[in-house]
Structure formats: C-alpha cells, structure tokens
C-alpha cells in the first residue's frame, strides 16, 4: 500500500492542472469541489499509506521517480522519502488542507476569481507535500519555493488593493533572504558529502568536521527563520494577513510556516554535529521571537493581526523545542498548533465573514449569541492555545517547556512568561469579540468615530473606549456606512471544518501524553528519525506534577488577568496595550525605513554610478575620440603645398632616422 505514496502529491497536482486550464469553464462552485476533492482524496491516500507504513522496516519507505538534475558528481532525483516524520507531516497537512478547502467554498463564495483561488490552493498543497516528501535537500527546496510562490499569489490574491500586492511582494522577498541561506547550505552539503539525499548524507553527519556542520546548520537556520517567520525575518507574516482568511489559516498558520521547523528537525544529525552554540542560538532566537511576538499581540486591534503574531510566537516555541533538543516536542506542538491555530483563523474568518469584512475588534463584541457555533469552537481553540488542560495546546507547550527546563531554567522562565502573555492576549481577543458589549450596532457610533481619528496601528486608540461616551453624539453621523452591520452565523461548509478542527484541538493532546512512556505515541513514532539526537527526558512524578500544575496556574492567571481588564474593566487597557507593542517594537518600521531609505539610496547610487561612471566612461571615450579627431583634422588643411611640405619633412626624418641606425 505504501507504493501509492506518489498519489499523495499527484492528486493535488492533478487538481491544479485541471483547474488551471479549465477553471474558468468549471466555474463556481464546482471548481471548489474539485479542489477539495483532490486534497481530500490525497488525505484518504495518506491514511492508506500510513496503514501500510507500519509494515515497513523502521517505518521508512523510499521511492525514486526519475533523475532530475544529473551533472558531473551532482545528482538529484525526484524521489520520495516516506518516514515517520514526513508521514506525520503529510497526514496533518492533507487533513487540515481538506478542511480548509471545504471552508473556502463557503468563504470565497461570490468572488470573481473563485476557481483561481482553488487553483492556487491545490498548487500550494502539492508544493507543501513535495517539501515534506522530497528525499533530498534540492527537492525540499523545490517545495519550499513552490509554497513561497503560492503564498505570494494568495497574499496578493486581491491584488487590486496596493497593500495586498505589497504584502505579497514583501513575503516573497523576505523569504528569498532565507532561501539564500538554504541554497548556500545545499552547496555546502554537496561540497562536504558529495550528495544531498537525506538517507545518504544524514547517516554520515556525525563524522563531519564541526566547522562544516556548523556552517551548514547556520545556513539552514537562516533559511528556516525566513520561512518560519523568526527574528529578524518575521516581518512578512503579519502583513501576509492581507490574503483571504483561509489562506492565513492554511499557509500562514498551519502548514507553510512550519516548514522551517520541519527542515531543522529533518537535519537534526547536522545540528547535533555542529558547535554547541548552534542549538543555543536556535533556542534563544525561538524564545526571543515567542516573547516579542506575544507582547506585540497584546496590543493589536485587528483580529487577524493578533492571530498572526500569535503564530509567530508559537513558531518561536517550536524553534525553542528544536534548540533544546526536543525534536518530537517541536513536531507535537506543530501538529496541535496546526489544529488550534487553523481553527482560530477559520473562526476569525467566520467572524469577519459574518461582520461583512470587518476585522477590527473595536467594532465587535458580544458575538457569541449571534454566532453560537463559531463562538463555541473558537473558545475551544482559545483554551487550547492558552494552555488550559486537557486541551491539546497544554500538553504540547508543556512538553516543550519541560525540555527547555532541562536545558536552562532561564529559557523555562521566559517560556512561562510568554505562556502567561499568550493566555492573556488570546483571552483579550475572545472577550472583546464574543463577550462584553456589542460595538457594531448603532450604539457604538462614538467609538467608531473615535477610531477614525486615529490610525489603525496607533495604540493610543486603546484608551478610546473610555472616552467613547463623550464623543457619541458629536460624531454619530460620520459613520453611517458602518452603522448598519448585521452579523450572522456562517453556512455549513464553513461550520463543519470548525467543528472537526475543534474536536482535534481539544483532543490532539493524546498523541503524546507525558505520564508514561507508553502514552508518548508521537515520541515513539518519531524515534527512527530523531531518536539519536533527541534529549530523553525521564521526569519523575513529582517534577512532572509540579510542571503541569505550574503551567495550568500560569494559563489560568493569564485568563483571569484578561477577565479583570477587559470584562470587569478594573484596569485601563491602555496601560498594557502600549504603542511600543502595537507598533511591533518598531522593528518592521525600522527595517522598512532602512530598506526604503539607506537601502534605496544605495541602489540609486549604484544606478547613478552605472550611468555616470561606467556608461560615462564609454561615452567619454567616444567623445574624446571625436574631440581629438576634430583637433587633429586641422592638420588636413587642404593646401597642396602643406601636404608636399609634410611629405618632405617626413622624408627627411626617415632618412635622418635611417642614417642614425646605419653605420657606413
């Protein structure tokens, strides 16, 4: 049955080809069903293959389709490596992608480019599967770039708006910075091993010189932080929210952004062979990103921006896990995160859809009565990400923190603080969207007006609510357009995925429960891939209990704090939602200012140099030739006697020269 593995990527590819040529003719909604069907079939195939993989030795299966680039000593195939790691990835990618495809049929209803959307989505799923199934670095890179290109298309899906187009471009170019690192890593791998096929070079990795391994690991890490939005290349992900919400759920939360984590887990023997500061660096970048993004998420007003920064933060946890040697924990959190974050995004999409494309939380509130299904499922997602037992996020986050504590208490403490922030900002989101007063009816005009007076990113707005009443009357008329919002619950294609995802977000923790080794299913499943380099924790009952209790306390504390601030209004939110956080620590502005300022000046200077110096030199030679010639031509004055004289002078000079050379 495992031989069917090629069908897994082939089905979405077939869907893509069908839609790219006939998408327009197939039209809505059939194009959506074809796209969904292709991915769903792929998921079914993946389940069948999964069943077959149990019988394979070491749960590993390899298949080579054809030679791709043979040149000299370099040789890569289009080949598939199906091992526990890629199997786990394939299962959750195809599973979640099927649900999100289904959801998109409802969400994209009525869009003029409906078939195009599913074309891109299918291509994305295909690329993502190539990324995880590829049996060598170059093929992974193919998928890596493929998902990058699809992400670009989909972020800029509504390209008529300049911001969307810019966001797509920014995502692609920032990713390309990472890709540069990835490419250099491939070169170095080839240079060191003479091969880039995982099954050939990874077993040799322990014999690698430390400097070489360090170089490869560092460059792969550069690639990974680009794709997985870590410091300092995380700036593209919040902007990527310009894309349709299903895209944010699938690409920018559940699957593509985890590719960097997948890559690092895949090459874990290289990391093990590299200098000891490499894991430290990964862990520190991870935890720093997690903390930074969590603080930024505290102060965002756009519901999708909160989730975007939360994604960056959770990816930071996964990097932390990789850095502290908890590879299986990274994959565990990746899977649970895929469920609950996809759920949260889809829920947010449902809210946005129901609110008629409104994304600002300041215009929401009390939606739980109007959107009961969305609200309940969203709340499950919230409890999962906040780390409340027994929801999935609790187990996976705690797993990572256990490994972090093993490495260093400092990492553990910052991880806990970040967990507190996570619980706080997610609770803030839920309370402001689903609880409290509704701010979308006529009664909220004052706040809306106030809103307009500030820019969306300006956190000073946070205090606006307090002054809302004062402005209520004076600005009531300025917002007639927004006043008549009538939120509604979404239709079933959007609700079914929510319910399914909510189920898994709640229960996915059973994949890897820490109580006994027998319950650590995922750990044991991944053992053939990461076992050698994985840190093996054997927590005693007391320590485990302590850690679990501490985590639970932290999560509840965060939720309680948010409750006090946003529902009980005991504390002014503006004391938490600092402008510094709202503006993302000014990192994005800083980089943008640098690129738009000094960077652009530099480019202009070089272009100027080309025009003035290089082309100037060429044209200068031309002009000098002309100038010299015009001076020289004065000699040719047209007087016969002048020419005759010159002939005479010339003759005399030649004779004189000959006389000096010849002795008689």
């Amino acid at each position: 049955m495992v031989e069917l593995v090629w069908l897994i990527p082939a089905l979405p590819l077939a869907g893509f080809l069908l839609l790219v040529f006939f998408g327009k003719r197939i039209g809505e909604p059939r194009a959506g069903w074809i796209g969904t069907g292709a991915v769903a079939l792929s998921f079914v195939t993946a389940c069948v293959v999964f069943a077959g993989l149990w019988n394979e030795p070491e749960h590993t299966f390899e298949a080579s389709l054809f030679k791709w680039i043979p040149a000299g000593n370099f040789n890569v195939d289009i080949g598939i490596l199906l091992d526990p790691l890629s199997m786990a990835m394939v299962l959750f990618i195809t599973g979640i992608a099927s649900l999100i495809h289904l959801y998109s049929i409802g969400y994209m209803h009525g869009d003029s480019r409906f078939p195009r959307f599913f074309t891109y989505l299918n291509l994305f799923v295909f690329s993502m599967l190539v990324l995880v199934l590829g049996d060598n670095l170059v093929l992974t890179f193919l998928g890596w770039e493929g998902v990058g290109a699809c992400s670009y298309f989909l972020i800029a899906f509504w390209f008529e708006k300049e911001e969307n187009a810019s966001a797509g471009k920014k995502a692609f170019i920032t990713n390309r910075v990472g890709d540069w690192g990835f490419m250099v890593a491939i070169f170095m791998t080839f240079f060191a091993f003479g091969t880039v096929t995982y099954t050939e070079f990874l077993p040799m990795a322990p014999g690698l010189a430390q400097t070489t391994a360090t170089f490869i690991a560092l460059m792969l890490f550069v690639g990974a932080i680009g794709k997985s939005a870590q410091i300092p290349l995380f700036i593209w992900l919040p902007d990527a929210m310009a894309g349709p919400t299903p895209v944010s759920a699938l690409i920018h939360a559940a699957t593509m952004v985890t590719a960097g984590v997948y890559l690092l887990v895949r090459v874990n023997p290289i990391i093990a062979a590299s200098a000891s500061w490499i894991p430290w660096m990964i862990a520190i970048v991870g935890i720093a990103t997690a903390f930074l993004a969590a603080t930024i998420a505290l102060a965002q007003q756009d519901i999708k921006k909160v989730l975007a920064y939360s994604t960056v933060s959770q990816l930071g946890y996964m990097f932390l896990a990789v850095g502290v040697g908890g590879y299986s924990a990274a994959i565990f959190h990746m899977i649970t995160h895929a469920f609950f974050k996809a759920l949260l995004f889809l829920g947010a999409g449902s809210v946005i859809h129901g609110m008629h494309e409104e994304q600002d939380m300041r215009r929401m509130g009390a939606l739980r009565r109007i959107m009961p299904v969305t609200a309940v499922t969203f709340i499950i997602g919230w409890l999962a990400i906040a780390g409340v037992p027994p929801f999935s996020g609790f187990w996976s986050k705690d797993d990572i923190l256990a490994y972090a504590l093993h490495k260093s208490p400092i990492l553990y403490v910052i991880g806990l603080i970040t967990a507190l922030l996570t619980a706080f900002y997610m609770s803030r989101l839920v309370f402001r969207v689903f609880y409290g007063d509704s701010r979308w009816g006529e009664s909220a005009e004052g706040e809306l007006a106030n809103l307009n007076a500030h820019t969306a990113t300006d956190a000073a707005d946070a205090g606006a609510e307090d002054h809302a009443d004062a402005h209520e009357d004076s600005h009531a008329d300025t917002h007639a357009g927004h006043g008549a919002v009538h939120p509604h619950e979404s239709k079933w294609p959007m609700l079914v995925p929510l319910i399914v995802l909510a189920f898994f977000a709640a229960t996915a923790g059973v994949l890897n429960l820490p109580f006994t080794e027998n319950l650590e299913f995922l750990n044991r499943w991944l053992e053939p891939v990461v076992g050698e380099n994985q840190v093996h924790l054997h927590l005693g009952g007391a320590q485990l209990t302590f850690e679990l209790l501490l985590s639970t306390t932290i999560a509840l504390l965060g939720i309680f704090a948010a409750y006090m601030v946003y529902l009980k209004k005991k504390i002014d939110p503006s004391r938490i939602e600092l402008p510094f956080f709202a503006n993302g620590w000014y990192i994005d502005q800083g980089i943008t200012a640098f690129m738009g300022g000094i960077g652009r000046k530099g480019f202009e200077l070089i272009a100027m140099f080309d025009k003035v110096v290089i082309d100037g030199a060429v044209n200068g030679v031309g002009r000098a030739t002309r100038g010299g010639a015009s001076r020289l031509r004065a000699i040719e004055n047209g007087y016969v006697r002048w020419y005759a004289l010159m002939i005479g002078v010339g003759a005399v000079l030649i004779v004189a020269f000959v006389m000096t050379q010849v002795s008689f």
Partner: protein, 549 residues
Amino acid sequence: MIASVLSSVLASEGAPSFPILPALVFVPLVGAILIALMPSSRPELSRQMAVLTALLTGILSIALLVKFKTDDAGFQFVVQQTWVESLDIKFFLGVDGISLFLVVLTGILFPIALFAAKPEHSPKGYYAWLTLLMAGCMGAFLSLDLFLFFLMFEITLVPLYMLIGKWGHGRRVYAATKFFLYTMLGSAFMLVSIVTLAVLAGAGDKGGVSFDFTKIIATDNLATSTGRWLFLGMAIAFAVKVPSFPFHTWLPDAHTEAPTAGSIDLAGILLKLGTYGFLRYGLELFPEATVWFAPVMLTLATIGVVYGGIVAAMQRNLKRLVAYSSVAHMGFALMGLFALNVEGIEGSVLQMINHGITTGALFILLGFLYSRRHTYEISQLKGIAKVAPVFAGVFTLVMLASIGVPGLNGFVGEFLVLLGTFVANRWWAVIAATGVIIAALYLLWAYQRVFQGEPDEANKNFPDLKISEKLVMAPLVVLIIFLGIYPKPVLDRIAPSVKRVVTRLEVQVDGFKEPITRKGADLLKIESSHLNTGEHALGVATNGKGANQ
C-alpha cells in the same frame, strides 16, 4: 529552390550524408539574398519567404538534435571544405554538445521572433536583415575555423545594427552606433589574437598559417605569457559581447531602442556568442591562461550578477530593466564557465539556453505590451492583471522562471552554476547567490507596479492575449516548464563535451585538478573507518583555495 532544399531535407531521413550543418548556414543566407532580390512593392512575399526560411532552418536544427549522438564528446556532422588554401582557411563546420543547444535555440527563437512582431515600416529590408542575422548566428556557433568564426561573429553585427538603427525606437541611431562600435572595438582585439594564433599554429609544420581550430588546439606550443596575452585579446571581445561588467552599458541602450525581434534575438542568441566564445575559444584554446585568469573572471561575473540586479531594480523602463537583468543572468553563465568543473560549466551552458528562452519570452511579452500601449515606461502602466489575466499569468510564469524558482528552467542552470562555483571558490558563490534575492526584488517590484493595483483610465481597455499570441508563447512556456522538471536530456548531451573540456584543462595545466566535492577523497575514508576520525575533517578552512592553483 526552396522546394529542392525541402525535398533534400526529407530525403535526409534515409541518406545520412545530407550536409545538415552547411544547410543550417546556407538556408538562411540564401533566404536573405532572395528576400533582398524581391520587389519591395510586395512586402507579403518577403514575409512569407522569411517565415519559410526560418521555419526550415528551425526544422533542420531540430533534425540535428534528433540525430545527434548523445554519448559522443567530439564534433559531429563535421564538414570541411578548403577555402583559401595558402592561409589554410577552411569552411569547417562541426557541432558538439556545447554548441548543439545553442544552434537549436537559434533555430527555435528566430521563427518565434518573426511571428511575435511585425516591422512598422519597410518590411523587405527588415526580413532580409533578420534572416541574415540567423545565418550569422548559425555560422558562428558551428564554425570550427577561427577565420570563419570571426567572419560570422562580425557578420552578425551588421544586421543588428541595421535593425536597431532603422526599425528601432527613440534614440535608435545612438544605440545602434554604440552597439556597433563597442562590439567592433572588442573584436579588434580578438582579430589580433586569432591572427597571432594562426601564425603560431602554422609555424609548426611548414612555416605557414592555419586557422583550423582542431589544428590549433593540437599544436600546443604557446609560451605561458603568449597564451595569457592572446586569451586577454579574446576575452575582451567576448566580455563585451556577454556583456560582462564593466563592458555592459551598450546592452540597455541597444535593447531599449531595438524592435521586438531585435531584442529577442539579441538577448536570446547574440549574447550567447560571448559565453560560447569564452568556452570554445577561451577555455579550450588557452587552458593555462584560463586557469590563471579564472579568479578575475569570477570576480567580474560575481559583480555582474549583483550589480546588474541592483541597477535593474532602479530602472523606470521595462526593457532597460530586462536588459540589466540579462547582465545579471549572463553573469551567472560566465561564472559557471570559470568554476572550471563539470557542474559549473554544464550549468553555464544550461543557463545560456534558459536565459535565451526566458528573456526571449520576456521580450516577446514586452513586445505585446508595446503593441497595445506604445510605451515601456513602468509609470504609464497599472493594474493590467485585472483586465488581461492570461497575459499576466504567462508573464508571472516567465518572471518566476527568470527569478529562478525551482521547477522552472531558470533554477537548474543557476543552481548548477552556483553549486559548481561554490565547490571551486566558495565566497564568490555565496555572494552571487544573493543575486537570487535581488532578482526577486526587481522583478516582483516591477510586476507589482505594472500588473497589480486597480487599472487606471489608460490601461482599463488593455486587451488580453490573442490566439496567435498565445500560440507564439506556447512553445516557450512548454520549454520553461519541461526544462525545469526534466533537464536530463539536455544535460546528458552537454555532459560529454564539457567533460572533454575539463579533462583537457587537467591534462594541459600543471597542477590543475578539477575542483570537485570532497566525497571522492575524504568521505569514503570516513565511511570505511566508521566515522569520527579527525584528520580527514571536512573543515571549512582546509580547502579554501579551490580552482586556481
């Protein structure tokens, strides 16, 4: 005349002695003469004649591809005919894996260029010059006689000069003159080298002269310094042609003012004369000098890659932008050659082909754009993707190929070039790899400004691609995808000839070993001794020297 040629092609299925290489040169040559003899009052005749000639040559080139023996490293289909006996100048043609695909590219791109755009006036002359250009390109790629090569190399200048100067836009005379003088100046140095080489080669046997490539390559009597000087002469001509930094400024001017077909053929084929020349008449003729100059050439190529991209990003005119992107892409091609290993050189040849296809396709698309909007200025264009989705889709595909997204053709060549260079000279490759970031930057930025956003008044009625235009693009799109996914057939045919070149370098140059990965030496030892032996550490520092000892 045409019927007889056609019938002999058909007959060639059975008769292997059909002189296919001379036919590749003479069919377009005769075609050009016939077009010139036609009455200018019947322009449609000259167009039909040009199309017929180009298609026939294209079919011949495909036939050549089919009949080419994959595993043969030497020259195939060789034809030799004495021309000037006293100077040992011959009409000497042959094809190997390196020139094969450039010939095929010429055969494919010229008919496409003919279909892609029509001249705005005086069609007769236009078609005659274009067909003559095809003959010159074919001749230059096929020549195995240095005199013949020089002749063909120079012949190509005249038609392009006329095409730019007469059928171009704007400052066309300035651009044409600059192009002609600049390349001509470079060629002057090459002529000196060729004549010197001919005299030195002939000096061996009877005190005569020989322009025969195979004889010269066998002579092997160059003093080290002589070889270096002669290489330098050749290098100047080819560096101008490529164009390599800092000899590139004629290219943007020429492209901006050239008519569409001129741009397609200039970027697609003529630039390859430079890199092809480096390979055939640099690496093969002057092994010692090649190894000696390799660091300089690598440096120029690396600068070209990064610099070309940066300058491209700042252009306001789409054609200038693509022209500067050509500087960057040809920098990759040049770089691979001087990696001096099989991966790099194969990648370089592939990069030449890929650049011909993608940049050719980009110029065709820009030609379509110009025929609709009569401008190349980025600021005049906006939101085209909304009104012309197919046009935008095809452009996106070609753009991604040009950026080097894997799965499309541009990636394979660039990747192999960088890989080969990395193995030979690490830091150049690391720097040049940033070119892929810059490529994304300038192309996506231009794409955003031209295709995205809401179309304004002037671009609201931009018509989408017509059927005929789709047909012109179809073969290129197919090639872009095919060569990205399955470049093996091409690489297999290039490989033997490239190996021949590299082996010759190793034999001729004392102490030169092809820069290859450490696998052959160290890793096998590691495998046998069960890893963990420190002394064959694959350290970064242990092999920093690479190609140029």
